[in-house]
């Protein structure tokens, strides 16, 4: 029997699909292909070469990119660790601590950052930092990243937690475990795939962020996205394509990992039926 809503039978299905795929991926593919271009031009093909990758690591801008990359990665790792820890505790409270006053408000507060326009958060964060007299720099970037990564880390963790039935905790308590031991020995291991997934997602979100970072970073410190933007302002050179391709590669690897970990978790049975 045919499915009721087989989209493939809709008029214009094929052209529309290709248009969407083209708009989404053509720019990425062009950047990737032209990062291997041997020419100084960003539009004329001059043969295959790795010179722009060499340029990224050894050229005049290499020092700037290197320190920006170190900032980006160190901030992403710390922001991911801290936001994942907070998100794990938040998910535990939201889903396993029963009903408490302010639960729905808490849920809204955790997820609201996803809905607030990023530029608003950026401006607000900058105003906040200057209002309390915080000097902008590495630390302000880190704090801002921790905050906006929390909802991204929260989502996969909460999704995983929702699938863990209460009866496991009851069984652990029945077998003389305290609440904390139940959390550490039962809940935490069962949640691990969700936590790893959340960590990887938070890492990527932090690594890729531009708007908020650009507002709160202050002078003299760059992350990869702001460094790339700075270079582009002086004209697009092929080395930007090379560094963008590298960044894309890191993103793809992490998103794939996150997906695989999530799937690994699903194979293990957590429900009791």
């Amino acid at each position: 029997m045919a499915k009721k809503l087989d989209l493939r039978r809709f008029p214009g299905f094929l052209p529309l699909t290709f248009l969407c795929l083209f708009l989404l991926y053509a720019p990425l593919i062009i950047v990737m292909v032209y990062s291997f271009n041997d020419s100084n031009s960003i539009t004329n093909w001059g043969g295959l070469s790795l010179r722009w990758y060499v340029e990224v690591f050894t050229g005049v801008e290499s020092e700037k990119f290197k320190s920006a990359a170190i900032n980006s990665i160190s901030i992403a790792i710390m922001a991911a660790i801290i936001s994942t820890s907070i998100a794990t505790l938040a998910a535990t409270a939201m889903l396993k601590a029963g009903n408490f006053r302010g639960k729905s408000v808490g849920f809204a507060l955790i997820n609201l950052p996803l809905m607030v326009p990023e530029i608003v958060t950026a401006v607000a964060t900058l105003i906040f930092f200057s209002a309390i007299g915080f000097t902008t720099g590495y630390l302000t970037i880190l704090v801002a990243h921790i905050v906006f990564c929390i909802p991204f880390a929260y989502l996969p963790i909460a999704a995983r937690m929702q699938g863990i039935e209460d009866v496991y905790e009851q069984a652990a308590m029945d077998l003389y475990a305290t609440r904390f031991q139940t959390f550490r020995l039962i809940l935490l291991p069962l949640m691990t795939p969700g936590i790893i997934s959340g960590f990887l997602l938070a890492f990527i979100i932090s690594l890729d962020d531009f708007i908020i970072t650009n507002f709160v970073k202050g002078a003299g410190i760059e992350t990869l996205p702001t460094a790339i933007f700075g270079s582009v302002k002086q004209g697009i050179k092929p080395n930007i394509m090379a560094i963008s391709t590298l960044l894309l590669l890191v993103s793809v690897v992490f998103v794939t990992l996150s997906y695989l970990v999530g799937r690994m978790g699903q194979n293990k049975k957590v429900t009791t039926d």
Partner: protein, 355 residues
């Protein structure tokens, strides 16, 4: 006198306005296989969970060997539970699951490991000790759950419909095994089920629960043969309920008039009174006789073949239908469809119930 293991005293459990258990009092004896039997939603599982510590009680007390445990959290109560869905920890192998409670009690790895091996041997799962729960069949998981709950040598073992997920053949085998383990370990078992056959075959005593109230407590035979009210008679096994006019109840015996006018005297349940009432007669205690010899007369309307038995439904003149169970053996006379028959039963086979 035997010691009381679990004493539930005037216990009430409310969820908002809904009363799940109403003023329940039960005394479960030491080393007893005690069953809480009732239809789904009757409150039997709530009672079990209250003893385990997963439900707060609204009123009353729960005592474990004399000590009030109603305010203790589950991990402070020396009772263990076999959950309906087993709830084996999916990230731990069989041995780790069984050792869990022992380690939480502060035993060292070696002691806990030895005890786990001992319990796994008891449930015949030694060769599966290294498997994960997902690598076991339903029956094996059920035995791991039992082993895990038995390992800490609880004072009372609570079993929440542990057999309901197994198929029929396995269920019958596990019943005997459970009974054997209860006798071998001497641990008091409190077993929750909605399956009356399970309750009758395994239990030392049964508490029949309906609508949050205990209807009757007693050994299987007493529950089956001397039900106190209509609910118990109807829920446990099959029974015929006959409308009668009771003229007198005296010294535990009732004199009543059967449909068709025959006078009959039989034992009455405590609390039965004169007026309109119901007699309970089990189908296997009714015999088919010639119309004139019977206490009741009617015509057969249906015959159901059940293998070892045959059910004959007889419609009385007032329209009521009674069932007679005949053994399927050589020489049993099976009346023809529509034949006029008489129904007879002995005084001891009938019982006047409290409605």
């Amino acid at each position: 006198m035997t010691e009381i293991a679990v004493d539930v005293v005037n216990m009430t459990k409310r969820y908002g306005n809904f009363v799940a258990l109403s003023n329940v009092s039960l005394s479960i004896l030491d080393n007893e296989f005690f069953t809480l039997l009732g239809p789904s939603g009757c409150g039997k599982t709530t009672l079990l969970r209250a003893i385990a510590g997963f439900e707060d009680i609204s009123e009353g007390a729960i005592k474990l060997y004399g000590e009030d445990i109603a305010d203790l959290p589950p991990n402070k109560r020396p009772v263990n539970t076999v959950f309906q869905q087993y709830a084996l920890f999916p990230h731990m192998d069989v041995t780790a699951n069984v050792m869990f409670g022992l380690l939480q009690l502060g035993q060292d790895q070696a002691t806990a490991g030895a005890r786990a091996a001992e319990v796994l041997d008891m449930v015949q799962l030694t060769e599966f000790a290294d498997r994960l729960p997902s690598q076991l069949s339903g029956g094996q998981q059920q035995r791991v759950a039992l082993a895990r709950a038995l390992a800490p040598k609880p004072k009372v073992l609570l079993l929440d419909e542990p057999l309901s997920a197994l198929d029929l053949k396995l269920r019958q085998a596990v019943r005997q095994e459970l009974q054997q383990i209860q006798q071998d370990t001497g641990i008091t078992f409190i077993f929750v089920t909605h399956d009356q056959e399970e309750a009758l075959t395994m239990s030392d005593r049964i508490a029949v629960i309906a609508d949050g109230e205990v209807q009757q407590v007693g050994p299987a035979r007493e529950i089956y043969e001397a039900p106190v009210n209509k609910f118990v008679a109807d829920f446990i096994g099959e029974t015929n309920l006959i409308d009668v006019a009771v003229s007198d109840v005296m010294n535990g015996n009732a004199t009543c008039t059967l449909p068709g006018g025959a006078q009959f005297t039989c034992p009455a349940a405590i609390g039965a009174v004169a007026g309109n009432g119901h007699l309970s007669v089990r189908p296997e205690r009714v015999s088919l006789v010639k119309p004139k010899d019977g206490l009741l007369q009617g015509s057969t309307v249906r015959q159901t073949y059940l293998g070892t038995d045959m059910h004959v439904d007889v419609r009385l003149k007032d329209g009521e239908i009674l069932t007679v169970r005949l053994q399927n053996s050589e020489g049993t006379d099976i009346p023809e469809q529509g034949a006029l028959v008489g129904l007879n039963f002995e005084t001891g086979a009938a019982r006047l119930l409290v409605d």
